[in-house]
Symmetry: C2
Subunit: 338 residues, 2 copies
């Protein structure tokens, strides 16, 4: 009854229940060998004191913390947000916990990873952000599994990665635009260092090349909406005017669409095709009807979770997992008004 301010320990519970401290530990360990009666006594005492096992102590002994370290780049993206949501749901089922940091697009994750390693995280998950080769060496040496989400592993790193099939998506967008009759194509991408953008572009280019001409205009839009607006302006000012623009993500595409409509007075679809990548919620809103290649969040996170939760000795595989999305054809690329 008399609750105390500081947290009671297993010892306190043991005393109240008239058992040993070890018995308390066992009562809270699923599948331990305790008599039912003892167990009840312990739980009763624990309830009275408001006792909860201290997971920090448990982690210290077990050598695994139950904590997954997450560093998220570009935290304004709705896609990453729903990925976080799906991941949290999945991991909390498995009694794992997420220690999170967010980082503005393009910044390094390193300082945060340092902190995470000190908490002895069971795994490190990087969403849309990279890791320095120094830290990645450390993780490899210490056996900390690193999983890259939405960003493929760099040259030598050899970590597991889970991404949508960016190349295929880019390819399908190109195919679709050409099929619709668009010919003077443009691309808004990110600077070289972003592999995601590069892969989408590569697929796009690949299809065009196969069809005969890989020519398309190109501008960098980086991460911000403001950047995308500037890139769209530059692209739309070129002569002869482009008739379709593929943007490396939906955020860029929506911005591009608005520039086309409200600054250049173009009718999106018939006069200018616009396609994005990711199929975020807004893409399907009536105001936009943006053609996009979807990123299946649930499937991606499912894969991530299975990599995280697999037993440690299985983690040899540093595979690159690519999951196919689906081309969502919408009005923004209907060249002939319906």
């Amino acid at each position: 009854m008399a609750k105390q301010l500081s947290n009671p320990s297993a010892h306190d519970v043991a005393r109240l229940a008239g058992v040993s401290q070890a018995a308390v530990s066992r009562a809270f360990t699923p599948g331990a060998s305790v008599a039912k009666a003892t167990r009840e006594k312990v739980l009763q005492a624990a309830r009275e004191l408001g006792y909860r096992p201290n997971l920090l102590a448990r982690s210290l002994i077990k050598g695994e913390s139950g904590i997954i370290g997450l560093v998220m780049g570009y935290p304004r993206s709705i896609f990453l947000m729903s990925a976080l949501y799906a991941l949290s749901a999945r991991l909390s089922q498995a009694q794992k916990h997420i220690l999170i940091y967010t980082v503005e697009g393009g910044q390094a994750a390193d300082p945060h990873i340092e902190g995470l390693l000190q908490y002895r995280v069971d795994a490190l998950l990087l969403m849309g952000i990279g890791i320095s080769s120094k830290l990645s060496a450390h993780c490899r040496a210490k056996g900390v599994p690193v999983i890259l989400f939405n960003l493929r592993s760099g040259e030598t790193q050899g970590f597991a990665s889970v991404t949508v099939n960016n190349r295929e998506g880019g390819r399908q967008i190109a195919e679709h635009l050409i099929a619709q009759g668009y010919r003077r194509l443009g691309f808004i991408g990110a600077p070289e260092i972003y592999r995601t953008s590069r892969e989408r572009e590569a697929g796009f280019k690949e299809y065009l090349a196969k069809r005969g001409s890989a020519r398309f205009e190109r501008e960098d839009g980086c991460y911000d909406r403001e950047d995308a607006i500037l890139a769209a302006r530059r692209l739309l000012s070129r002569k002869p005017r482009l008739d379709a623009i593929f943007c490396w993500n939906d955020h860029m595409a929506l911005a591009c669409m608005e520039v086309a409509r409200y600054e250049f007075g173009l009718e999106v679809g018939p006069e200018l095709g616009v396609a994005g990548f990711g199929d975020i919620d807004q893409a399907s809103w009536p105001s936009f009807q943006l053609t996009s290649y979807s990123q299946p969040v649930d499937a991606l996170i499912q894969k991530v979770a299975s990599l995280i939760l697999q037993p440690p000795h299985m983690q040899k595989s540093a595979g690159q997992f690519m999951i196919d999305g689906e081309l969502k054809r919408r009005a923004s690329t209907h060249r002939i008004a319906t």
Copy 2:
């Protein structure tokens, strides 16, 4: 040079450096009394072994984990996302870490809070989600500070809360709509249990009552876009037709706007005023130009962080902090086309 798979301990470093284990601890404690030379020796040895202090062990002793527990409701909201980003930036400066759970709107946070308490979090931050009275009693008894963000404390709980001034926002929206000449008003809110919606509505009603008539039509839109669409349809089908709708958040307002435009063929602004709350990014996009009362994320998070970081003995105050936003007047409530 020879890195080992398992993490080296302070002991290992001590042996290599030829000092005591305590010296290693001191070398890694800012402001401890160590000779510069010893310190160097230790750091050198640590580097060789790839040693990092184990924060779990430190937390165990210190009785504080350096971890802030966060439970986030309605994780699709861009507002909460940017709040998370701001918080992460602020807290990692102070060497605090965020253990996060996300919960679908309307669900209970309790099971996750259980987990967080076992990690002995230094504080519990609830974003847009409540806590059961049983757990809140526990937190109070154990001296775990609880901070409510964007959701005011229930009757008896007595926790600190940080919110935008919802009532004032609702009031200003009403004033603005009336000033623009709108007269047949509607409101899309959330069910009773959501205090946020209730407060905004209260302010809205308050102004109308003061002006003579507090009559307005009302529908519940809850959290999902789908719900908002249904509510908007119902509201717009009533006769005589409403001429302005205030939605309890911007997500609802954008959905409402699209229903008005694309299903009812109304010109938003002249024919139907639409106002939201929160001033999310999209509100200012050319496609929407949504009038909204802003929620100053940075100021709000600043306050939250200061509550979290204040020394424990100062935490008597369970104040209710309300921060004013600002009415952003945009085209969605220009009754006379400009």
